[in-house]
């Protein structure tokens, strides 16, 4: 809940491009990015936005069959995600030579008091679906064909698990940033396929690893919140409460849109919508550059063998 005067204060501030924390309308918060601190995971990344939002993403790879066997009658929650892939059954038919990505967003119960458990569940489901839709497909960036081990039978499955540790607004953008970071950090064991006596066998070498092909094409999300007649990026929790509509745009480094989704309970005029798409595209490009630089730093840090800052990262401000 937000009071009328608070709402008025924020709305009027946004109108003259001054926000409560001193940013202007299109300023992004300071972000801290770290990779590889979960050693048990194939890849991990933590993104902290100055002022609260804290996202941890872990990637686990596993070997699985290309077509998941689903018994529709026994559709339990665990199989939900796999079923989702089945829903795109039409595409699966011609995709016998591709791996899969399964995303799941989980909100730590301690993360926020603002939402009710049911709302959190709805929100997590919305975000999981959004991620699955963005990442599974040619527009998702990740080269799904490279994840295939034996066409028609075996492939790598990337399980991307997102954990929201703290909520400070603008979750979706932070989630995508962390996911991209985690994919950059992920190493898959090398699988070698051998053919003998007409049978195909494969061998997994744990010591030799490969990077995920196409991680740099993974898009980042920019969420614009419409407050009054203006829109802002990277909204803080209070600003999210005043916003009448949200537009999330996924942008990749080629400057193409990979997804577009509106949220919130207000309407947007078509002309403003077009303008917002353009703004989001530009901001997305700068964000991508910023993140690439941060990831390069991380790479150097890992190469130098320095330990990650770990969970003290948020408190160093």
């Amino acid at each position: 809940m937000i009071s009328v005067s608070e709402r008025d204060y924020i709305t009027k501030g946004v109108d003259v491009s001054i926000r409560a924390d001193g940013r202007s309308r299109l300023d992004f918060r300071e972000l801290v990015l770290e990779t590889g601190m979960i050693t048990q995971a194939s890849g991990s990344c933590r993104v902290t936005l100055d002022g609260g939002t804290d996202i941890l993403v872990g990637v686990k790879v596993e070997v699985g069959s290309i077509e998941p066997e689903v018994e529709a009658e026994e559709a339990d929650i665990l199989e939900d995600m796999e079923q989702m892939d089945q829903d795109d059954g039409i595409t699966m038919v011609k995709d016998k030579d591709r791996g899969r990505i399964i995303c799941n967003v989980e909100c730590s119960p301690s993360a926020t008091r603002i939402f009710e458990p049911r709302d959190i569940e709805d929100m997590c489901n919305e975000y999981s679906q959004f991620m699955n839709r963005v990442l599974n497909g040619s527009h998702g960036g990740v080269d799904l064909k490279a994840l295939c081990i034996i066409p028609g039978s075996t492939c790598w499955i990337l399980n991307i698990d997102v954990l929201v540790l703290d909520y400070g607004g603008n979750l979706l953008d932070a989630i995508f940033m962390a996911t991209r970071g985690a994919l950059h950090n992920t190493r898959i064991p090398r699988a070698t396929v051998e053919q003998s006596d007409g049978r195909v066998e494969f061998d997994i070498a744990d010591e030799e690893t490969e990077i995920i092909r196409g991680w740099e094409d993974v898009p980042l999300c920019v969420s614009l919140n419409k407050i009054g007649y203006r829109h802002i990026v990277d909204a803080a929790p209070l600003e999210e409460l005043c916003s009448s509509a949200r537009l999330t745009v996924a942008v990749n480094r080629r400057g193409n849109l990979c997804a577009l989704q509106k949220g919130g309970h207000g309407g947007i005029e078509p002309s403003l919508l077009a303008e917002m798409v353009q703004t989001a595209k530009q901001i997305g490009q700068t964000l991508l550059k910023r993140q690439d630089a941060a990831l390069r730093e991380e790479e150097e840090r890992i190469a130098a063998g320095k330990d990650p800052i770990g969970f003290g990262a948020a408190s160093r401000h």
């Binding site: 079923q83 066409p151 039978s153 195909v200 849109l257 309407g267 947007i268 005029e269």
Partner: protein, 261 residues
């Protein structure tokens, strides 16, 4: 104790199913649609209100093979736990088990849950929930037959808006929605299931034509900005067409009642 850190491969191995070249490329041309439509044409659409007698308002929509029914109940007293000074709009989206190629379970899968959410987001800006304190309006959409998942979602939104209007719930505008498929740089309105197989992306837009406001938009696939904006314009025009059918349908209901009485 098994070695948990090692990734173990499956025990069996199989001969490749696919011989080189077996995935022969079938060229699909969106300009030549099977049902003879132009790319900027929606399927002819039929709507009817008052199909569920028990409900406060209901509607049925048919476009080609696509068949969607919707019932609206309420407003009624909200459950104790979530009282608010504004009304609550509950939306429920369900595919019938026999609606598509694969049989669907009775339990809602995550796609249906997502569509339920999209439905609520698309309709809530139009419904005057501030006039319904402490009350809940329930919207149930059932897809009887699906033909293109994006088109299904769009039809569900349109149908639900029609049912809400039929229930006499105060709305700012009748929301109309429509879908497009992207085939590289070609934009194709209202794609069918078969066409969807070949598309590189899709967009569903729901729009309030009289107020000129977009209530929801959802897009997937890698699309350039200019193409997206072109598609948005195309959708806005199509939504206006759909709304005029909605208005005719609603007006026809009243005329029938006046003449019948």
């Amino acid at each position: 104790m098994a070695d948990r850190k090692r990734v173990t491969g499956p025990e069996k191995s199989v001969v490749p199913l696919l011989e080189p070249g077996s995935l022969s490329a079938f060229t699909f041309d969106p300009e030549k649609r099977k049902d003879g439509r132009n790319i900027d044409r929606i399927r002819p659409v039929f709507m009817k209100t008052g199909v569920v007698r028990q409900a406060n308002g209901s509607a049925y929509l048919e476009a080609g093979k696509l068949k969607v029914a919707c019932g609206v109940y309420g407003p009624r007293q909200t459950a104790r736990s979530k009282i608010s000074s504004r009304g609550i709009l509950n939306c429920d989206f369900k595919f019938s088990p026999f609606s598509g190629g694969r049989r669907r379970a009775y339990i809602k899968d995550s796609q249906e849950k997502e569509y339920s959410l999209v439905l609520r987001q698309a309709l809530a800006p139009a419904v005057r929930l501030d006039l319904l304190p402490k009350s809940t309006v329930d919207v149930f959409v059932q897809v009887l037959e699906s033909d293109g998942s994006a088109a299904c979602l769009a039809a569900a939104i349109t149908c639900a808006a029609l049912a809400l209007a039929d229930a006499g719930i105060e709305m700012l505008d009748a929301v109309a929605a429509c879908a497009v498929g992207y085939f590289d740089s070609t934009i194709c309105l209202d794609p069918t299931d078969e066409e969807e197989t070949y598309q590189s992306g899709s967009l569903v837009l729901s729009y309030m034509p009289s107020l000129n406001e977009v209530t929801h938009v959802i897009q997937s696939g890698e699309i350039g900005t200019t193409t997206t904006i072109k598609a948005l314009e195309l959708c806005v025009d199509a939504c206006a067409q759909i709304q005029s059918v909605m208005q005719q349908t609603l007006a026809a209901t009243i005329k029938e009642k006046i003449n019948g009485a």
